[in-house]
């Protein structure tokens, strides 16, 4: 999954105050959220490819599931 240090750096990209701290629990939760997001995107892409009888998930299959995926998160 996502390393806590990486998640911390990603969050800090958007903080106005660089002194903002994020607790370990919050980092762990965010890392888990990102992991679930990626797995969900991948799995839905697979679902779409399988429905089309393909064995490769290409960008087209991801684009088809993208609107609903983004709305679900």
């Amino acid at each position: 999954g996502f390393r806590k240090e990486l998640v911390n750096k990603l969050l800090h990209l958007h903080f106005r105050d660089c002194k903002t701290k994020v607790s370990g629990d919050a980092l762990q939760l965010m890392a888990e959220f990102l992991r679930i997001f990626v797995l969900e995107a991948a799995a839905r892409g697979v679902s779409q490819a399988q429905a089309e009888g393909l064995n490769v998930v290409d960008v087209d299959q991801l684009e088809k599931v993208l609107p609903q995926l983004l709305l679900d998160f």
Partner: protein, 114 residues
């Protein structure tokens, strides 16, 4: 320790995942959206050659039914979106009269809007 890639991981990324000049698609981007109705200063981003711009509207016709999920169910917002797309699809084939307007007009009370 800093959360970034180690040398080994970097080499793996470079070999397996990195898109480059030898690839037909050199990169993927999700275009930024903006509010059409707001007067915003926005620099129009010209699409770069070889970069695939992901589209949220290319497959809009497919969004009139819920697509399968895995571990995360569809949100209320998503279900709302799907029902609107469904309504749009049904209305696409209408001629002259609008069925939505016909259904809702009997309930209009002018004192509600004036």
């Amino acid at each position: 320790k800093d959360g970034l890639l180690s040398e080994e991981e970097f080499n793996l990324w470079n070999r397996l995942y990195r898109l480059g000049d030898s690839d037909e698609v050199k990169g993927v981007a999700l275009p930024r959206s903006h509010f059409q109705s707001l007067q915003e200063d926005r620099a129009t981003q010209e699409p770069t050659t070889g970069i695939h711009q992901l589209s949220l509207s290319e497959w809009s016709v497919w969004q009139d039914h819920p697509l399968p999920t895995y571990q995360v169910d569809h949100s209320y917002r998503c279900r709302h979106f799907i029902s609107i797309m469904q309504m749009i699809e049904e209305m696409r084939h209408e001629e002259d009269e609008c069925s939505y307007e016909l259904k809702i007009r009997p309930f209009l009370q002018m004192e509600d809007v004036c």
